[in-house]
């Protein structure tokens, strides 16, 4: 059952990614304006119709997928890499190193991700990279905490102790016995938040704080089409469906993966 959701989710994500990558070869330029074909209905010329400026909706959806997957992927990567690194360092670096990391993590955990994004947009202006930066600033905190907890507990595990006693250095013992399992947990935890992340980025872009024109982004596309709900419903349905499918795929993956890896108790212990 769980494996099935993992599989469906993974295939869905692969399909979205393939569409995003292959679209430039198959579909028109997503930014090409054609005043003669404004708000064309879905059909032969334009698979999913066109928008207010006659741009091909399918191409823009695919381009929006690149925007979304790129920015979400960046935040995900940060939360995995920085989280794993900071958590491991904090677990192995002794008292002072731990305290420093722990305090930073405490603050980062106390700052709601979207609120930070809103604050950064307010200070340095709207933009997709600002959002990615702001989201990444706190995204690594939960993963760091998980990595710390896991690595810290593993340090005194019999197999690790045995490896160390056998003369292998602490770092090598950790790398061989602990890091793979810690990474798996961190990856799953980071993936759990991706669905919400996609929704947040789309919502912030809808508000005009994310992708700026003419960059195609699902939330922004929907915002630009609010006026045309009746005249061109496909302009609302398509980006909504895209967000829905993307969130569904990563949620299915996360659900499936969570069953495979034990993330420990649901409320993480405080340091």
């Amino acid at each position: 059952m769980r494996n099935r959701s993992l599989h469906i989710g993974a295939w869905l994500l692969v399909a979205i990614a393939l569409t995003a990558v292959a679209a430039p070869l198959l579909l028109p330029d997503p930014d090409r304006v054609d005043y003669a074909a404004e708000l064309a209905a879905p059909g032969a010329g334009h698979l999913l119709g066109t928008d207010q400026l006659g741009r091909d909706l399918a191409a823009r959806l695919a381009s929006g997928a690149r925007t979304t997957l790129g920015s979400v992927g960046a935040v995900w990567l940060v939360s995995v890499a920085v989280g794993l690194f900071a958590g491991t360092v904090s677990a192995l670096a002794g008292r002072i190193g731990h305290e420093v990391v722990a305090r930073i993590v405490d603050v980062a955990l106390a700052l709601p991700q979207t609120v930070v994004a809103l604050a950064v947009a307010g200070a340095i202006g709207p933009g997709m990279w600002q959002l990615v930066l702001a989201m990444s600033a706190t995204a690594w905190a939960p993963t760091a905490r998980l990595a710390h907890t896991y690595v810290h507990a593993a340090r005194d595990r019999p197999d690790v102790t045995a490896a160390r006693m056998a003369g292998i250095g602490t770092v090598r013992a950790m790398a061989a016995h602990v890091l793979p399992a810690a990474s798996a947990r961190v990856v799953v935890l980071a993936t759990l938040g991706v669905g919400q992340l996609i929704l947040s980025l789309a919502a912030l872009s809808f508000l005009g704080l994310g992708a700026q024109p003419p960059t195609a982004e699902w939330g922004r596309m929907l915002a630009d089409s609010r006026h045309d709900v009746i005249a061109a419903p496909w302009l609302i349905i398509a980006p909504t469906a895209a967000v829905f499918l993307a969130v569904t795929s990563v949620s299915l993956i996360a659900d499936g993966a969570r069953e495979r890896v034990d993330l420990g108790s649901r409320t993480w212990p405080r340091f």
Binding site: Y35, Q52, L53, G125, P126, G208, P213, R226, H227, I230
Partner: protein, 515 residues
């Protein structure tokens, strides 16, 4: 299944939610005699010195002069205005004008208006510093300005320079930000009087004692709604009769249930500030740019006919308007060739550097992004490589000498005084306050200085003609990209409402009119 206690619990909860949803408040029924409008701009308080500009817009206040749909000014509360010396003016009030509190507006009350504004109103201070007034008869006031001020009639028509109010009645109000107290003092003169003002609504009632007889409407409700889409939806949903400043996106597919009304004259022009520090420092490049723009296509194709193509610096309705704008790509190519910009891969280049122009659009006017995109396409055929930057605030971005070549901005050439001088000086004089592009043309400066002291109408028209010739046709110091007509979205009952291009939205004769 339904006997299951958990299922019952779930169904009960669902039912509860549904009931709560159904209790949503319906739209209030419309009162026939009350006009309900939605506008983005919030009126913060009723203090005329701070917020007086809204009074003539919504019909609870009036000015000494007013702008007409032709872009000229005419007396309003005044019977006449007469220039006697370069600095001396005689103002005659119409007889029988009274404030809402019943006090008459006579020369003494008007003198108090001048003094109150000169004491506290920053716009009055900057335009009429050190002016003195003296009553010369019951309805006659003499005004003496420090410098020659040929545009005093225009200044008096500006909604912010000299709001007219009962200064004596306002002086006894302890707290001018107390809306109820100011409303009760009845300090304005318009066909409607303020009943209440909250953070989201201004409510007006008919001034029964209005000098031209009672107004048609029994009242006006002005709701402040920032979101443009919401304003249009409010009219479609029957919550409002008129929506002001509808966003262009909302007009494209408005639907049959409401109509978009267009003001006859005075469209809002989209200007392109030109930065003379970059490649546009070369007059040939500037002129080529102006000639390469297809004004008709911008208005008709990019903006779907919601805009119109400009003819020149000023709206065609003013007497001194010149038609300087035209599209001629061959001429543009010739000018670029003449300046040594050769074509390489479709892009003009000189000394190995491509002719790259950065166009600023700004987010509070989303149309600028659309137009910038269209400009990019048009100019690329003439060999310009256009980059678009969308900035949050255009004036701030243009204050930076670097990073832009053309800054799009909705800036009327006439301003709120309907006097060409002020904006010309601000934008194009070497010392102009908003001379972002560092225009420094001694000849143009001389013409502008002459204009600021010219009283004779024919002399003024000659100077204005020369200024347009220099600034637009010869030197192309400014671009005029597209004109956006003033539009109002109206419910069927107000399909015949005359949209005002000079911000006088509500008057004594306003009322429901079918088309």
């Amino acid at each position: 299944m339904s006997r299951h206690p958990l299922t019952r619990l779930a169904l009960t909860a669902a039912l509860l939610a549904a009931t709560l949803t159904a209790c949503s408040s319906p739209a209030e029924p419309a009162d026939e005699g009350v006009l309900r409008v939605v506008t983005p701009y919030t009126i913060k308080n009723l203090d005329p010195v701070q917020q007086g500009l809204w009074a003539p817009e919504w019909g609870y206040g009036e000015l000494l002069m007013r702008a007409t749909e032709h872009g000229t000014v005419e007396p309003w509360l005044l019977e006449s205005i007469e220039n006697r010396t370069p600095t001396g003016w005689r103002l005659d009030l119409k007889p029988g004008i009274a404030f809402h509190n019943g006090h008459p507006l006579d020369a003494a009350a008007l003198a108090a208006v001048f003094e109150a504004n000169l004491a506290g109103n920053k716009r009055t201070q900057s335009q009429l510093a050190d002016a003195t007034v003296s009553a010369d008869g019951p309805l006659t006031l003499d005004v003496e300005t420090r410098h020659p001020t040929p545009n005093l009639p225009n200044l008096l028509a500006d909604e912010g320079v000299l709001p007219v109010f009962d200064a004596a009645a306002l002086a006894v109000v302890a707290d001018r930000s107390d809306n109820a107290a100011v409303a009760a003092a009845g300090i304005y003169t318009g066909p409607f009087a303020v009943q209440s003002l909250t953070s989201d609504r201004l409510t007006l009632k008919r001034n029964e004692a209005y000098r031209d007889g009672p107004p048609r409407l029994s009242g006006v409700e002005v709701s402040f709604v920032e979101d443009g889409q919401a304003r249009v939806l409010a009219v479609r949903a029957g919550e409002a009769d008129l929506a002001f400043y509808p966003p262009s996106e909302a007009l494209r597919n408005l639907g049959a249930d409401v109509s978009a009304l267009t003001a006859a004259a005075n469209p809002s022009p989209l200007r392109g500030f030109v930065n003379t520090r970059g490649p546009l420092g070369d007059v040939n490049v500037r002129r080529a740019l102006a000639l390469a723009v297809d004004y008709r296509s911008l208005a008709e194709d990019a903006m779907d006919g919601l805009y119109s193509a400009p003819v020149g610096m000023f709206p065609a309705s003013v007497p001194y308007a010149r038609s300087d704008l035209r599209t001629d790509t061959a001429e543009a190519a010739r000018l670029l060739d003449a300046s040594g910009w050769g074509i390489r891969d479709g892009i003009r280049a000189k000394d190995g550097k491509a002719l790259t122009i950065t166009v600023l659009s700004y987010s509070s006017q989303p149309d600028t992004a659309v137009i910038a995109t269209a400009l990019q396409a048009q100019l690329s055929t003439a060999g310009f490589a256009v980059e678009i930057r969308d900035v949050p605030a255009n004036y701030e971005a243009m204050a930076d000498p670097e990073g832009w070549d053309v800054g799009l901005s909705f800036d009327s050439a006439l301003g709120t005084t309907y006097d060409p001088l002020g904006r010309l000086h601000d934008f194009l004089h070497t010392k102009g306050q908003y001379n972002f592009g560092a225009v420094g043309d001694a000849g143009l400066d001389g013409l502008l200085d002459e204009l600021s002291a010219a009283f004779d109408p024919t002399e003024r028209d000659r100077l204005l003609d020369a200024i347009q010739q220099t600034a637009v046709a010869d030197e192309a110091y400014a671009l005029f990209i597209a004109d956006r007509p003033v539009r109002v979205v109206a419910s069927p009952a107000y399909a015949g409402y005359p949209a005002s291009s000079v911000l006088q939205h509500v008057g004594a004769t306003t009322g429901p009119d079918a088309a």
